[in-house]
């Protein structure tokens, strides 16, 4: 997935390059989110087999889910701010 059209220049100046990589990071973010949030599927859970390792405590689970959540929100907000900043800088110049 790329915004490049066939007529677009092959090499970009540094700022445009940076902006594209920020967009790449933005696009990757939900995939990272899915991976992190689907990890609990592999956690040992209570009652499946008596020999299983002890299940993860609920407090840890809550902490994990919410920490991931907050990190994703922060990442999204920071990316938005940087991309928006570059847009504003582009408009200004």
């Amino acid at each position: 997935m790329s915004d490049q059209t066939p007529s677009a220049t092959l090499f970009l100046e540094k700022r445009s390059y940076r902006r594209r990589r920020l967009m790449d990071a933005l696009r990757l973010l939900p995939i990272v989110g899915v991976l992190l949030w689907m990890l609990p599927v592999f956690w040992p859970s209570g009652g499946d087999h008596p020999a299983d390792p002890t299940p993860v405590a609920m407090s840890s689970a809550v902490t994990y889910v919410f920490v991931v959540w907050i990190l994703l929100i922060l990442a999204a907000a920071v990316l938005w701010w940087f991309i928006g900043e570059r847009d504003r800088a582009d408009e200004g110049s």
């Binding site: 939900p30 989110g33 999204a76």
Partner: protein, 893 residues
């Protein structure tokens, strides 16, 4: 303790407050001071109608029953928002470019503005959302019953309460949503009201949460200990549900009609979406932050058997916090009302645009031009739809008994609306998706959902009998509603979701692959999929026939007189015209159609304008028809061209024939003069000499003999002329009988030379080459000789060379023979060549002895003998070629 009546009073004041906010917001918006109403914050808060009473009450109950599973309902939407670049960006752009007013409008527009598809989506949406509405009724009723239990036990039965709540919601929604018909289907007042409600419910839940963590548990650390020591203290998870519900909630977030309304239809600026991409997950995170603590504390301090769905209310009540409980009640009330308002508004828009208006328009025989206010019909249709939808929710609530856990009901709705997702995503990412594919996929997915999820939700023996649950339909064990295809042991929700969605996608893709889209579908498909390449409207109107007045009348009825007038006046001003009627240019018609689409949906607006503009609308289908027509015209003109070439060829032939005829006629006239002269000359001398013989007595014998000889000679000449004419007419009529003989060609030529020379001695030297060749032939030798004699005498007569000579030659040509008579005289002039074989044609006839029949006779004879005679100009004279057919020569060999 707060009484139910106090609570109702608080609720009414709250509603009045919301109504006032909505009213002033709309006032401000109309006065053009509403920019603050369309800020990213309001947009983000309006998205919070995703969090309904189910969230507010149900999440805690869900957590108390199943631990962390409740959070999946928020993880899905968070992922969709964080990944806005993938899907939402495109969805919002398409929705804005196409002026989509609802999910049904979007899907119908993508698949060639198919109203059938819109109706199917509308019906599915109404049925799919009904359990959700019932859920809101149930939550409000339950929450009211808590207060009545603690206050006045028998004052309020749950059924009556649900009825009054439903009635109140109808009034509320009608007042909010259908006060007027906005040109762009945006509801500034409603949006600001739900934004306020979003704040109220967040604050309420946070307040209860903070009270629980710091007021009851005593801080974060002790709270965590309490969580680990509770009955849900261990990670216990149905793994399939964790993944499936995250996916399901993401799908429902995209496909829910009310989410489409706030996310796409009410979107003012695409940049708001970027801000909401992190702000809305933040809202969701805050909404779920205290769910587990509240559930744990509720399980701890409340007696066993308390309904965990109401912990948000009962925990503060149990701790004697009446004010907090009231705030919490208002939070739940806000959740329920905002969801019902937006959901029913979205659905009523769909019902009125795709079901009521098309039916109404088609029943109006005179079409869109009839008098009467369409606005009234639209508003009436919407109000009726609102009533109907909430009534359905009430019926569902009554039927399902109101006993099921809130979360279970919500998930049924989610699976139902998620059926739109394949058609939606397929439509915006895959150009190959077709109308029939979308329709088939939707219907199959919907049918599976009804069978596996909706009908079982009423419980065994309510609609589906226990036998069906256990044995399947008609005893077919692979058709059990919770174990399709014999696969048992799957969680019912996951089961319904996996089967309905996978069959939906399979049928959608399969049917799309084998069907062929209509031209309009292909155009719309390209516009949807490549929306970022060209976000413009491609279809247009040729306005030649649409009069501005008709358009004005129609627009007034939909947009309202004032709005329509100002729209038309602005356009007229833009065009530089005075007065209020602009020229119906294509651009103006497109603008108008978009304005109308905002009120009545794109399909209906298109239909209305096309009724006025009539056959001149330039849809793709029309263009295709035009293209077909021009292809036909091109073909026709090609054919005409060919025909005209043929005609001009014929005309040229006719002209030639005519010239020939004219020349012939001239010749005939000349000949008739000639022949009468020919006949008269001998006749005159015959008469004169016979008169001399009769009247003169003293004639001596010598004179008598001389005169009689003259008379005899003249009669012979006359006879010969008449013989020739007779001969020709016999030949021409085909009455001649051929006398076939064996002979030698050279003998025939020699005889002819002899008889010609004998008849008239001239100085013509005849050179008979190859005279010793033995050329046997079988034909009518006398007739052939006649031809040769004719040609030789012609040469004797007309060859004007100083030393006239005639070469007679025999050539083998193809299968036949050619006898060439080649003289050294002057060439026959070109204009005469075409006529030499015609009757009465005489060229250079100086002595007037010929009748011009010789060559005509020759040609007739040769035609009878199966041969031909042709003329060829040669460098040194004229050549007459007698062609003898093959069998004449071969027969003798």
């Amino acid at each position: 303790m707060i009484s139910v009546n106090q609570l109702l009073g608080v609720s009414l004041v709250y509603v009045a407050f919301l109504f006032a906010i909505a009213f002033f917001a709309e006032r401000a918006s109309m006065r053009g001071k509403g920019s603050w109403l369309r800020s990213p914050t309001v947009y983000t808060l309006s998205l919070s109608i995703y969090c309904t009473a189910w969230t507010f009450y149900g999440a805690v109950g869900y957590a108390a029953r199943s631990g962390m599973e409740f959070v999946t309902i928020y993880l899905g939407p968070s992922l969709v928002m964080i990944g806005w670049w993938w899907v939402l960006r495109k969805l919002v752009r398409i929705g804005r470019a196409q002026r989509a007013t609802s999910v049904a409008d979007l899907i119908s527009a993508r698949y060639g503005k198919s109203n059938l598809l819109a109706i199917v989506v509308t019906v599915m949406a109404v049925i799919g959302v009904t359990p959700y509405i019932a859920l809101q009724l149930q939550s409000v009723t339950l929450s009211l019953s808590i207060f009545s239990e603690t206050g006045q036990p028998d004052s309020l039965s749950q059924q009556t309460a649900a009825f009054w709540v439903a009635g109140g919601l109808v009034v509320f929604t009608v007042l909010f949503g259908t006060r007027n018909l906005n040109a762009n289907e945006r509801h500034d007042g409603v949006v600001i009201a739900i934004a306020v409600e979003a704040v109220v419910k967040l604050v309420a839940l946070l307040a209860v949460g903070i009270f629980v963590v710091w007021g009851i548990a005593g801080g974060i650390g002790p709270m965590m200990e309490r969580i680990d020591n509770s009955s849900i203290g261990e990670w216990s998870m149905d793994r399939s549900r964790w993944a499936a519900l995250t996916m399901l909630s993401a799908a429902a977030f995209l496909a829910l009609p009310r989410m489409f309304q706030v996310m796409v239809v009410e979107n003012e600026d695409e940049r708001h979406l970027q801000i909401a991409s992190w702000a809305f997950p933040l809202y969701l995170m805050l909404m779920s932050l205290f769910v587990v603590p509240i559930a744990v504390v509720g399980l701890d301090i409340l007696p066993a058997g308390s309904n965990p769905d109401l912990f948000v209310l009962t925990v503060p009540l149990a701790e004697g916090q009446g004010g907090l409980a009231t705030l919490s009640f208002l939070g739940g009330f806000s959740s329920a009302t905002s969801m019902v308002i937006v959901a029913t508004l979205a659905l009523s828009t769909m019902v009125s645009n795709h079901v009521v208006m098309p039916v109404w328009l088609s029943r109006q025989a005179e079409g869109a031009q009839v008098s009467g206010d369409v606005r009234n019909v639209v508003i009436l249709a919407r109000r009726a739809s609102i009533l109907m939808i909430i009534f359905f929710g009430y019926i569902y609530y009554r039927l399902s008994g109101g006993g099921a856990a809130l979360a279970a009901i919500g998930l049924i709705s989610f699976v139902g609306v998620a059926q739109f997702l394949p058609a939606m995503l397929g439509g915006i990412f895959w150009r190959g998706a077709t109308r029939w594919g979308a329709l088939a996929g939707l219907l199959v997915g919907f049918a599976v959902w009804v069978f596996c999820s909706l009908l079982p939700s009423f419980g065994p023996d309510a609609i589906l009998s226990t036998a069906v649950f256990e044995q399947g339909i008609g005893g077919l064990r692979w058709l059990r509603p919770q174990a399709l295809f014999g696969i048992e042991g799957i969680d019912p929700t996951v089961h319904a979701m996996v089967w309905s969605l996978s069959l939906n996608v399979a049928v959608f893709v399969g049917v799309s692959l084998v069907t062929f889209p209509t031209p309009l579908e292909r155009l719309q498909g390209a516009q949807f999929v490549n929306v970022f390449d060209h976000s413009t409207q491609a279809r247009g109107w040729d306005a030649a026939l649409a009069t501005s007045e008709d358009l004005m009348i129609m627009a007034q009825r939909i947009l309202g007189p004032a709005d329509a007038l100002s729209l038309f006046r602005a356009e007229a001003q833009r065009q530089g015209l005075t007065g209020h009627l602009p020229e119906p240019t294509q651009g103006f018609l497109q603008t108008l159609e978009r304005e109308l689409a905002g009120s009545v949906g794109s399909a209906t607006a298109h239909a209305m304008i096309s009724q006025l503009v009539g056959g001149t609308s330039v849809s793709v289908e029309d263009l295709m028809a035009v293209a077909d027509e021009s292809a036909q015209i091109l073909e026709y003109s090609n054919r005409l061209e060919a025909k005209s070439a043929e005609l001009s060829r014929t005309a040229r032939q006719l002209r030639e024939a005519n010239q020939k005829l004219t020349a012939l006629s001239v010749q005939k006239d000349a000949f008739l003069g000639q022949i009468s002269h020919e006949l008269r000359t001998p006749m005159t001398s015959i008469r004169s000499f016979s008169e001399i013989l009769r009247d003169t007595d003293k004639l001596d014998q010598a004179d008598k003999t001389k005169y009689a000889s003259i008379i005899h000679g003249e009669t012979i000449r006359l006879t010969r002329l008449l013989d020739d004419l007779l001969d020709l007419s016999v030949l021409e009529n085909g009455q001649v009988s051929l006398n076939l003989e064996q002979g030698n060609l050279n003998d025939v030529i020699a005889q002819a030379v002899l008889s010609a020379g004998g008849a008239r001695s001239t100085q013509l030297r005849i050179n008979h080459v190859r005279s010793d060749l033995d050329v046997p032939l079988s034909t009518d030798l006398d007739r052939l000789r006649q031809v040769f004699i004719n040609l030789i005498t012609n040469a004797q007569k007309y060859c004007n060379a100083p030393e006239p000579s005639l070469t007679v030659d025999i050539l083998q040509h193809g299968g036949g023979l050619q006898v060439v008579f080649h003289d050294n005289g002057t060439l026959i002039p070109p204009e005469a060549r075409a006529l030499i074989f015609e009757k009465f044609s005489r060229i250079n006839d100086k002595d007037g002895s010929g009748a011009g029949l010789g060559l005509a006779i020759c040609r007739e004879i040769m035609a009878r003998l199966g041969g031909d005679i042709t003329y060829e100009p040669r460098a040194d004279g004229n050549a007459f070629i007698v062609h003898l057919p093959g069998q004449a020569a071969l027969a003798a060999q």
